[in-house]
């Protein structure tokens, strides 16, 4: 590999292939393992349906419980900002939609790039704020392990490198773009084996909580 263009072609070619394969296989294996474990058989008579309360809980848990919001306002609000910002930048930035369109043939309208630019800055600031909070708060710091910092970095780096590439703050451009794509590939590869799996499992857990409560005829 003797030029930045070779590097870019490598991350766009074989590396992208490998990363996508590991991501898809890893996520499916982990989800199937959870589903196939099954639930204990219910021995009692059902007092209500599972479907409605299950779906309702999947939706309502998007809102923070009011007690949590009061106790940890910074974490909750910062969490909202960076989750929303990350997904807006991921799914509504025009070149990202172009990549999905060229790869899978589906597309949707994007947001103007200057708006995405501003959202990215807010998201980066929120992530930095949350990291400082985590390090400064004695309890949070005690509870944090290597993996917590790892997933923070895996989330932060694609946003940061994307921002640097968009504003051409790293030269030459193929290197900037290549680093950005590589950071996403590292995220994809480590995703199934870290806490990042909550992207999918959060909804599974919510469903189980809601459905169980529903069967017992209680609010979840």
């Amino acid at each position: 590999m003797n030029s930045t263009m070779d590097f870019l072609l490598w991350v766009r070619g074989p590396a992208f292939d490998v990363a996508v394969a590991i991501f898809v296989i890893g996520v499916l294996v982990r989800l199937l393992e959870i589903f196939l474990l099954g639930r204990r058989p219910y021995l009692s008579e059902a007092r209500g349906s599972q479907l409605g309360p299950g779906l309702k809980t999947v939706a309502t848990r998007f809102l923070a419980e009011s007690g949590t919001l009061k106790r940890a306002a910074f974490t909750v609000i910062g969490g909202y900002i960076f989750h929303l910002g990350f997904f807006i930048a991921l799914l509504l930035f025009v070149p990202h939609i172009e990549l999905i369109h060229a790869t899978f043939g589906i597309e949707w309208p994007g947001m103007p790039t200057p708006v995405i630019d501003a959202i990215t800055v807010v998201t980066l600031v929120a992530l930095i704020g949350l990291l400082i909070h985590r390090l400064a708060h004695p309890v949070l710091r005690f509870l944090s392990g290597f993996e917590d910092y790892l997933v923070w970095a895996l989330t932060f780096l694609p946003l940061l490198t994307g921002y640097l590439a968009f504003h051409r703050l790293v030269n030459p451009y193929p290197l900037a773009l290549g680093i950005h794509i590589l950071s996403v590939e590292i995220l994809l590869i480590l995703f199934p084996f870290t806490k990042l799996m909550h992207t999918f499992t959060a909804f599974v857990a919510r469903w189980y909580n809601g459905a169980m409560a529903g069967r017992r005829g209680v609010e979840s």
Binding site: M5, D6, L9, R12, F16, F23, L36, P95, T103, T113
Partner: protein, 363 residues
């Protein structure tokens, strides 16, 4: 040969008015991003500039750079600057041939040792000297010889600057740019396939005025011309920002002048002045003519994954990979699920019921 007449005298001799000359100075200053206060300084310096000797060496190239520089539609002051320079050696343009041509080069080198400018277009074969020779002298040897007494080296075109087409995979001649051979001289890369004529005249004017090369970027290109990307100066940029793209070269989007990103435009990676100076005396430029930028002023633009594929689009068939991976994932997940169930049922079978009585007995 270099002669005593100054540039001012030479221009007056050719009927250029003082007003025309100052207009050229103002245009050059603005094109090179110099402050307006520099215009009188430029005029004074150019007025007094002596005719410099220039040797132009052509190696593994297509003569497109020379074509670009000599094919101005109307005589311009840029032409006059070229006329003013004593072009002592240039394959395509010189009348002399054979020994007489080589003698002219040697004479120019000898008489102006240490002060002549060396322009190179084309890359150099760095494997077998026989791949490209001129008058029995290998390209490598001729460059080393001629660069020795040069005040500065100007690599014109992407081949001389970065290797260009001869350097494209599989690079059979092991072509290298000038910068890999000449490391001890001031070197400027004027890249492009071909470069914009005004960029060449701007660089020469800068050298005549200040006696040194202009400010350069990381790839040794004049910052005044290569400081901003095509993408950032493109008049179609607003369509990119809105996500409006032409799908083919003749669809509705193309007719409405939408962004050419989907057609493989390399504007985002390319630094050049096409979007501002344009071509053919400001008439148009590739994107205005409806074709995406090829990225011709960038290193390795021939090997950037295809002219008609955007720079950030994966080159591999990701949908296919994802499909196979999904099938594999389902199979592996099912296998893991079955194994986990076996483990659970095995554990259940081994499970012994322990009562309080058993515990009391054992203690």
């Amino acid at each position: 040969m270099a002669e005593a007449r100054t540039l001012g005298e030479s221009l007056r001799h050719q009927g250029v008015s003082r007003r025309g000359f100052l207009k050229f100075c103002a245009a050059t200053a603005s094109v090179m991003a110099l402050p307006p206060s520099m215009v009188p300084v430029m005029a004074a310096a150019l007025e007094k500039a002596r005719r410099p000797s220039l040797i132009w060496l052509s190696f593994q190239e297509c003569t497109g750079c020379t074509e670009s520089l000599t094919r101005s539609h109307a005589p311009t002051l840029e032409d006059l600057i070229f006329d003013f320079i004593s072009l002592d050696y240039h394959h395509t343009l010189q009348a002399a041939s054979g020994d007489a041509a080589e003698a002219a080069r040697e004479k120019a080198m000898h008489e102006n040792f240490g002060s002549y400018l060396l322009v190179v277009d084309g890359s150099l074969p760095n494997e077998n000297n026989g791949y490209s020779t001129i008058a029995g002298i290998s390209n490598l040897e001729m460059l080393k010889q001629t660069a020795e007494g040069a005040a500065a080296v100007i690599a014109v075109g992407t081949c001389a600057a970065f290797g260009g087409l001869p350097h494209a995979a599989p690079n059979p001649t092991n072509a290298v740019p000038v910068s890999e051979i000449i490391t001890d001289k001031p070197l400027i890369n004027v890249s492009g396939c071909p470069p914009i004529p005004a960029v060449i005249s701007g660089v020469l004017a800068h050298y005549l005025i200040f006696g040194q090369l202009p400010e350069l970027d990381a790839l040794n290109r004049p910052l005044a011309f290569y400081g901003q990307s095509i993408h950032d100066r493109c008049y179609r940029r607003s369509f990119y920002d809105k996500g409006l793209f032409a799908e083919t070269f003749d669809d509705e989007g193309a007719k409405k002048g939408w962004c050419l990103y989907r057609l493989g435009c390399k504007g985002p990676m390319t630094y050049n002045a096409c979007a501002t100076i344009k071509w053919n005396q400001g008439l148009s430029w590739p994107i205005e003519s409806g074709h995406g930028c090829l990225g011709c002023s960038e290193p390795n633009f021939w090997d950037a994954g295809g002219f008609y594929r955007a720079l950030s689009i994966p080159t591999a068939d990701i949908a296919k990979t994802a499909g196979y991976a999904a099938a594999t994932g389902v199979a592996l997940g099912a296998a893991a699920g079955v194994m986990n169930r076996r483990k659970t049922s095995a554990a259940a079978e081994k499970h012994e019921i322990v009562t309080v009585d058993d515990l009391e007995k054992s203690s």
